[in-house]
C-alpha cells in the first residue's frame, strides 16, 4: 500500500490475536472471513478466563461477594456498550444472543403490538435473512405486507419509498455481501417525518465504523458480539427508552418480573423486562473487553485503515482477468464479493483454503440479493484491522493458482 495509515501497526496488532499465528495446510493463515465472525484478541480471552477464575457467580439476586462482583461487572458492561453506541441511558441497552435474536425480539414485542392487518414493513434488497424472515413471519401472522427497497447495479439503495401504511423501516447499516454502507441517517430522518419506526441491523457496521445511535436517530439498533472481536452468544439491542417502556415483554421467566403471584405478574422495567433467565454473563464480560480493545485502537483509526486496505484490495483484484466484483457502492466497507469466470465460488473457496486463505463462499444468507445480481453464489473476502496488504497479496496469488487449475 502506497500510503499506509500512519501510526497504524497492523503487524503488531496481529500479535494480539493468538489464532492468527498458525499455519493452515502449510501456509500462513490469511483470515478473510471477518464478516462471518471475527477473531478474538488475547484481552478478550483473558477477561473471560479471569472472570471464570475469580469473579464468577449468578447476578442480580445474590448478596454474597461473588454475586455482587459479577453483577457489577455485568452492569458495567452495559454502560460500556451504552457509551460505545452513544446511547442516552444504559437502560436502553438490552443483551441478546446476537443480531438475529435482537431483530426477533423487536418483531415479536414491538411488532406484534404495532403491526396490524394491511400495514407495511419496508426492508431493502440487501438484507441478511435475519432481517427478512422475522418480518415475513410477523407479516404472515398479522396480515401485513413486506415491501422491499431495490438496489441499483452498484448495490446502493437509491430510494426508500414509504406508503401511507408503512409502519416500520428495517435496514442493514452495512451489507454483509456487498459492503454497501446504507445512508441510514437520511433514511431514518425521512421515515421519522412520516412517523415510521426505524430499526438498523448494525451487525456489519458496529465492528468497522463509529456508530452513534443518537446521531443516526434510529429507534432500534442491533449487533452481535462475535463480529466485534467478542465472544459468540452475546449481542445487543439498543432501543429508545420510550419504545422499550411501551413494549410487552419478550420471554417470561426470572429477572424480567417485579412480582409474581399465581393471579398476576408485574414486569420489571427495561432492560430487565427483556432479559428473562440467567443471561450470558461471561459473554457480556468478554464483549466489554472487546469494546475496550477496540476503543484502545480507536474505531476511527480502524475505519481509516480498513478503507485503505479496501482500496488496495479492490485495485489488486480488479487486475485479475475474469474477476468481477459484485458490489461497487461509492460508500463501501471492507467487504469484497466477487465471481470468477469459469470457476464456481465453491471450488474457488476450497482451493484458496489450501493456500491458507479463509474466505466465505455461497449465498451469505442473502439469497434474494444473489438473485438480484444473477449469481448463485459469490466468493467473499471480508477484512478486519488485523489484515495486512500481505494478506491481500496472498489472496490474489491464491486466486491465480485457482485460475491455473481451471485454465
Amino acid at each position: 500500500m502506497a500510503h499506509a495509515v500512519k501510526s497504524f501497526d497492523a503487524a503488531g496488532i496481529r500479535k494480539d490475536f493468538p489464532i492468527l499465528s498458525q499455519r493452515v495446510h502449510g501456509h500462513r493463515l490469511v483470515y478473510l472471513d471477518n464478516a462471518a465472525s471475527a477473531q478474538k484478541p488475547q484481552a478478550v480471552i483473558e477477561a473471560i478466563r479471569r472472570f471464570y477464575s475469580s469473579d464468577y457467580a449468578n447476578i442480580h439476586r445474590g448478596v454474597h461477594a461473588l454475586s455482587e462482583r459479577a453483577t457489577r461487572l455485568y452492569e458495567e458492561g452495559r454502560v460500556q456498550v451504552q457509551r460505545f453506541l452513544g446511547a442516552a441511558d444504559a437502560r436502553e441497552i438490552v443483551f441478546t444472543r446476537g443480531t438475529t435474536e435482537g431483530i426477533n425480539l423487536v418483531a415479536q414485542t414491538w411488532g406484534r403490538k404495532n403491526i396490524g392487518a394491511g400495514d407495511e414493513i419496508l426492508i431493502t434488497a440487501l438484507e441478511h435473512h435475519s432481517n427478512i424472515v422475522p418480518w415475513q413471519m410477523l407479516c404472515e401472522e398479522r396480515g401485513a405486507r413486506l415491501r422491499v427497497a431495490p438496489v441499483n447495479e452498484r448495490g446502493e439503495v437509491e430510494k426508500f419509498e414509504f406508503s401511507e401504511r408503512t409502519k416500520l423501516l428495517a435496514m442493514a447499516h452495512i451489507s454483509n455481501v456487498l459492503g454497501t454502507i446504507v445512508p441510514v441517517r437520511e433514511a431514518a430522518a425521512a421515515a421519522h417525518a412520516r412517523g415510521i419506526t426505524v430499526l438498523v441491523d448494525g451487525a456489519q457496521a458496529a465492528p468497522h465504523m463509529k456508530v452513534d445511535v443518537r446521531e443516526l436517530d434510529c429507534d432500534f439498533y442491533v449487533f452481535s458480539g462475535h463480529k466485534l472481536y467478542g465472544p459468540t452468544g452475546i449481542g445487543v439491542l439498543y432501543g429508545k427508552s420510550a419504545l422499550l417502556e411501551a413494549m410487552p415483554p419478550y420471554q417470561g421467566g426470572g429477572d424480567m418480573i417485579r412480582s409474581v403471584t399465581f393471579e398476576k405478574t408485574t414486569y420489571n422495567a427495561p432492560p430487565y423486562k427483556f432479559e428473562a433467565g440467567t443471561p450470558d454473563i461471561a459473554g457480556v464480560i468478554g464483549l466489554a473487553a472487546a469494546i475496550d480493545y477496540v476503543n484502545e485502537i480507536g474505531i476511527d483509526n480502524i475505519d481509516a485503515y480498513e478503507q485503505e486496505l479496501l482500496g488496495y484490495a479492490t485495485r489488486e483484484l480488479e487486475k485479475i482477468d475474469g474477476l468481477r466484483i459484485i458490489g461497487t457502492a461509492r460508500h463501501k466497507a471492507a467487504v469484497i464479493s466477487f465471481v470468477l469466470e469459469g470457476i464456481h465460488p465453491h471450488d474457488a473457496g476450497t482451493i484458496l483454503d489450501r493456500y491458507g486463505v479463509a474466505v466465505r463462499t455461497g449465498h451469505h444468507c442473502a439469497q434474494p440479493l444473489m438473485e438480484r445480481f444473477g449469481v448463485p453464489a459469490t466468493t467473499r473476502a471480508s477484512f478486519a484491522f488485523y489484515n495486512t496488504p500481505e494478506d491481500v497479496d496472498a489472496l490474489v496469488s491464491a486466486i491465480h493458482k485457482a485460475k491455473e487449475m481451471f485454465a
Partner: protein, 145 residues
Amino acid sequence: MIDDLYQEIILDHSKRPRNTGRLENATAAAEGFNPLCGDKLTLELRIEDGRIEDARFAGSGCAISTASASLMTEVLKGRTKQEAEKLFERFHELLTSDAADASDLGKLAVFSGVREFPARVKCATLAWHTLKAALENSREKVSTE
C-alpha cells in the same frame, strides 16, 4: 491434497460435461438443490423395461457437482434400476467411509479424494440424490440438507 480432489478427469467433466440438456420423452425426472452453495440440477431419465436407456442433466453447479452429474449419467446408461440403486449406495460409501473399496466403481473412483474435503461431499452426492428421487419417480425437489 488439492490435486486429489480436482483430478484430471473431474476437471475435464466439469469443463465439458457430457449428457447435458433436456431429454425427449423422459419417463422419470427429479430436481436437486444444494442450499449451501445454490447448486441446482434437473435430471431426466428414460427408463424402458426397468433399464435406464438414457440420462441427461441440466443446471448450474461447482466443478465437483457438475463432474459428478456428468460421470453419473455416463455410467447409468444400460443399467437396471436395481443396479443404479446399488451404485448409489456404493458411491455414497466411497465418499463417507475410509474403508470403502472402489474397485468395482470404475471411473467413479476418482471421487474418492472428496472424502478428505467434508464440506464438498454434498457437492458430489447431489446428482446421486437426485437420481434416487427420479428412480422413486417423484417429481419433487430433493435437497441435500
